[in-house]
């Protein structure tokens, strides 16, 4: 009968092996077809952080790099739970931020395009008839205690939920407290008391139950801001009390039992989005740190990668929207429709398809990833919170600039007769010979080219062209619009003032010389024109400075607006993506990471079989890790539970042979197989079975059968040979 059982077992084992073999083969084949993927392992060891140098196109501004773990096959299912968790955490953190904003400013920001998971959160509120500060403090302690409890329970569940719960409790407490302070004459306080009823780890549900049954009130806080915080608003304290009384009445009438009360349920609706949406939603999160980039490469601070995993790396950059100014202006002007229209146009223009080798990788089960901006409504909400105020400041500055006025004066009409001009020219030419003084020298230099023109232009001093600085007195040629700026005008005015100064000295010189010759003095005094020009010069200079200052402020505000706009994650677009993996291709490396020799001592025996076998023995063997382990990587740096476990096998040095009862599996040698629990790279605890041949219990039957006896052993990596030799000496 027992023999038959063994036969059945053997068949079952064979069946199991046959089931495994095709799976293993398919995995190998699958891996071998991916020769076109960039193999991280070829350059970097897994389980260690490293800097990834990834080529990028010029002009790409990489701001984020996100890494996703993929399962083989379809993209949608490629994200691991770990990765989902990260995304989920991020989303939850986003919710937390929104709630905090809600609590602080009573302004809700919600990113509706993200389809945030709806987290149903029902809090039961208990009434305490006597409200005192002590009670409030007590309440806070209880909440803290509750949070501690939840954290203890929640080790295996998403920590994000705990944080969420904690913040939620704080917010609700804060709200109640705030409203109590605002509502004079109310004596009652709401006390939040819960206990953890159970934790449903599979569905990620935490069920909290009210601790006291004397009174209860249900506060439903639905963490979908659209449906709760915006539409339903926070419940008022008076509403609570009314509701409480209503429940009490119901309770009295209908024997309302504790079971009828609504448990506190935190429920995460299973995320249904496809892979693209997941990527999109998590663009701003779960990101890798960009160490920097040059014109050709980006340097990414990569996390530890696990061996034999597929990864998807996506690099994201900020996209500039050409019509953003117009969109913002329209929003500032309150033209919602126009801004939405412009935004939608920009969205269409900037939509991007990302074609990567992920398609090949997934064997045609996916289409190219498409990305586009987030909806206008999201941007609108972002604008209201982050941009609007700054933008209005910028407009105030602009208005201030518009209000700024420049007051300039025109010169009077200066007219000289042709004779007077000719006389002055003659004087000037004679003066060229003397040039005793500095002004004479300067006048000589100025009039070297066209002496006549400088005098002829004197009649234009009453023109705004000269007095406002659009042209200098010496030259009144065509004026280019591009040259009309404050600096040129100031420069022109300065030149004109210098010219008037010299001309004024020339006329004084002329008059003094003419009188000596008996000529007629020129009745021209340029002092007034000089004053006007100098005033204009000063006014223009000050105006220019003030305008530049305002413009500089506007520019700074504009830059800050651009930064804020950049902060909107809806404009993130993928720049590059790659599929990679950490499969180890080289046989030597692969086996070296997976299989390692070790030695140790074991105790074996069957205590339940009259201790027929019992003994200790040294052994040598090897262990096959559940996952590749690079012993050069510090043990604590390696993540995951698989690093602790290994299959182990080897041979005993001592013999289990006993005449007529048993002998070694192969000759006198017995082998063992088992599981190992590692404490580090060097030491592991093994347990399993020692295999040997046991003679038939009937001494007249010579057949033998393979039997096992359990063992427990401590092994050390064989590379620590000195210790092994010491063991052997001891044993001998």
């Amino acid at each position: 009968m027992k023999y038959q059982s063994y036969k059945i077992l053997f068949k079952l084992l064979c069946l199991a092996l046959l089931t495994i073999i095709p799976f293993v083969n398919s995995k190998v084949c699958f891996a071998q077809t991916k020769t076109d993927t960039f193999n991280l392992k070829a350059s970097y060891p897994f389980d260690q952080k490293f800097i990834l140098k990834h080529p990028i196109k010029k002009h790409d501004s990489i701001v984020y790099a996100n890494l996703f773990e993929m399962r083989k096959g379809c993209i949608v299912n490629s994200l691991s739970k770990r990765c989902k968790k990260n995304i989920l955490d991020t989303l939850l953190k986003d919710i937390e931020k929104q709630l905090l904003i809600k609590g602080a400013k009573d302004t809700l920001i919600k990113d509706s395009s993200r389809n945030l998971q709806q987290i149903m959160f029902e809090l039961e509120i208990h009434e305490d008839t006597i409200y005192t500060p002590y009670k409030i403090n007590l309440l806070r302690r209880k909440i803290d205690s509750l949070v501690s409890e939840v954290k203890t329970f929640d080790k295996n569940i998403l920590m994000g939920l705990v944080n969420q719960l904690y913040d939620t409790l704080r917010i609700v407490q804060f709200k109640l407290y705030e409203q109590e302070l605002d509502s004079s004459g109310i004596q009652n306080a709401m006390v939040l008391v819960f206990e953890i009823a159970s934790v449903l780890s599979r569905s990620n549900n935490i069920i909290l139950r009210e601790r006291y049954s004397n009174a209860f009130l249900q506060l439903q806080s639905l963490f979908n801001p659209d449906s709760y915080f915006e539409k339903r608003k926070s419940p008022k304290l008076t509403q609570f009390i009314d509701s409480l009384n209503s429940h009490r009445q119901d309770s009295n009438k209908n024997n309302f039992t504790r079971q009828d009360s609504v448990n506190v349920i935190m429920d995460i609706v299973e995320q249904k989005e496809d892979f693209v949406k997941l990527l999109y939603n998590s663009m701003a999160s779960n990101k890798l740190e960009i160490k920097g980039h040059d014109s050709e490469n980006v340097f990414i601070d990569m996390k530890r990668l696990e061996p034999n995993k597929n990864y998807f790396l996506i690099l994201l950059g900020k996209t500039k929207i050409e019509k953003m100014d117009e969109i913002l202006t329209a929003l500032y002007d309150g033209d919602y429709n126009l801004s939405k229209k412009l935004y939608d146009e920009a969205t269409i223009l900037n939509s991007k398809m990302l074609i990567t080798d992920i398609d090949n990788y997934c064997l045609g089960c996916s289409s190219p990833l498409s990305f586009s901006f987030q909806k206008f409504e999201d941007f609108y909400k972002y604008y209201n919170v982050s941009i609007k105020q700054v933008y209005s400041e910028m407009f105030k500055k602009k208005n201030k600039l518009l209000e700024k006025k420049l007051n300039l004066s025109e010169c009077g009409n200066i007219s000289l007769s042709t004779d007077e001009i000719n006389s002055l020219i003659k004087m000037s030419k004679e003066c060229l010979k003397c040039k005793d003084t500095l002004w004479q020298y300067e006048w000589l230099k100025k009039t070297e080219k066209n002496l006549t023109l400088s005098f002829l232009n004197l009649s234009r001093l009453n023109d705004t062209v000269v007095s406002y600085g659009y042209a200098e007195l010496d030259y009144l040629g065509p004026i280019l619009a591009s040259e009309i700026n404050f600096d040129n005008r100031i420069k022109n005015l300065k030149t004109s003032i210098e010219t008037i100064h010299l001309l004024k000295k020339l006329i004084i010189f002329y008059n003094s010389e003419i009188v000596l010759l008996g000529g007629t003095k020129l009745d021209v005094d340029l002092s007034e024109e000089l004053t006007i020009l100098e005033n204009n010069y000063t006014a223009l200079f000050i105006y220019k400075k003030e305008v530049e200052e305002i413009k500089s402020n506007i520019k700074k505000i504009k830059e800050s607006i651009d930064k804020v706009v950049d902060g909107f994650n809806g404009f993130l677009m993928p720049s590059a993506a790659m599929v990679t993996n950490t499969y180890t291709w080289g046989f030597d490396a692969r086996t070296g990471f997976a299989v390692k020799p070790d030695f140790g001592f074991m105790g074996y025996g069957d205590f339940w079989n009259d201790s027929e076998i019992f003994g200790v023995s040294p052994y040598i063997g090897f262990h096959l890790n559940f996952r590749p382990l690079n012993t050069d990587v510090p043990w604590n740096d390696i993540v995951g539970w698989k690093k602790y476990f290994s299959f182990t096998a080897g041979t005993l040095i001592a013999s289990l042979k006993e005449e007529g009862k048993r002998e070694g599996l192969i000759g006198n040698t017995s082998i063992f197989t088992g599981l190992g629990l590692a404490f580090g790279h060097g030491v592991r605890l093994n347990t399993g079975s020692v295999w040997y041949k046991r003679f038939n219990n009937n001494p007249l039957i010579t057949s033998k059968r393979v039997s096992a006896t359990p063992y427990i052993g401590l092994s050390i990596d064989f590379r620590i040979k000195d210790i092994y030799n010491s063991f052997i000496k001891l044993y001998n």
Binding site: K2, S5, Y6, L9, L12, L13, A16, T19, I20, F23, D606, W608, N609, D610, E612, G660, K661, T673, L675, G688, S689, W691, R694, F695, N697, N698, P699, L700, I701, T702, S703, V706, S707, A708, T709, P710
Partner: protein
């Protein structure tokens, strides 16, 4: 992952099944008769050197080791001596080994027979009971002796059986009777205190003492026979 768990579970199931078994000692204790069952056809036979006891050993039907080892402390196995090994053979669909123990001439109530197969022995305790003679015969080469002190008559007394030999160490009663049925002064010397020999012979010597009697003298040897007391007489003449 499911495959992995399946492997682990299968592995531990195999370990449990492989390491749970009955120890051999316990098995033998529990299943001893299945391994070796031996019987004897009688527990006592006459120690006449020819009587046989049949020992039948039945061993496990599908045994690979069919040799059965017999041994005894007294008597001998047919065609052998104190030990006897034979291969069991199928008789009536059972593996049977048979041995025959021939009794010795020594009387004993502690005759041990051991039937052995590896790891299992079976021991029987039987008796060799005394084989009494059917016939007694007394002979002497001397026909007459002188009437003087010390005349000797050598005597050979034979204890005889129809089957076998009487057990060793049996004694006979000797008497010397005159013709008038009265006793004569005499002595028997040289009679073996150990009794009869392996051939059933008891030697003795008649020594005549002082006497005035001349004539026929009957020397009678008497012993307890198998079914009755048996005796035999030899006649000696005393002369001057």
């Amino acid at each position: 992952m499911k495959t992995f768990y399946l492997i682990i579970r299968t592995y531990f199931v195999i370990i449990v099944f492989s390491s749970c078994y009955k120890s051999q000692d316990k098995y033998i204790t529990d299943q001893g008769l299945d391994i070796l069952d031996a019987r004897v056809d009688t527990t006592s036979i006459e120690a006449d050197g020819q009587s046989l006891i049949t020992i039948t050993a039945k061993i496990t039907k599908n045994a690979d080791l069919k040799a059965v080892f017999f041994s005894t402390n007294q008597g001998t196995f047919l065609d052998s001596n104190k030990t006897y090994t034979t291969q069991a053979s199928i008789i009536n669909n059972e593996l049977i080994a048979v041995a025959y123990l021939q009794s010795s001439l020594n009387v004993s109530d502690n005759v041990l027979i051991k039937v052995s197969v590896p790891k299992v022995d079976k021991i029987f305790n039987i008796n060799f009971i005394k084989a009494l003679p059917d016939i007694i015969q007394i002979e002497s080469p001397t026909v007459s002796i002188l009437r003087k002190f010390g005349s000797e008559v050598p005597l050979d007394i034979y204890l005889l059986r129809n089957k076998g030999i009487p057990s060793l160490h049996q004694n006979v009663t000797l008497e010397a009777i005159k013709d008038n049925d009265s006793l004569i002064g005499h002595d028997f010397i040289g009679t073996s205190p150990a009794g009869s020999s392996e051939s059933g012979l008891i030697k003795s010597t008649f020594i005549l003492k002082d006497t005035s009697y001349i004539g026929k003298l009957r020397i009678i040897a008497t012993v307890q026979g198998k079914s009755k007391i048996v005796s035999d007489t030899t006649i000696i003449f005393i002369t001057n």
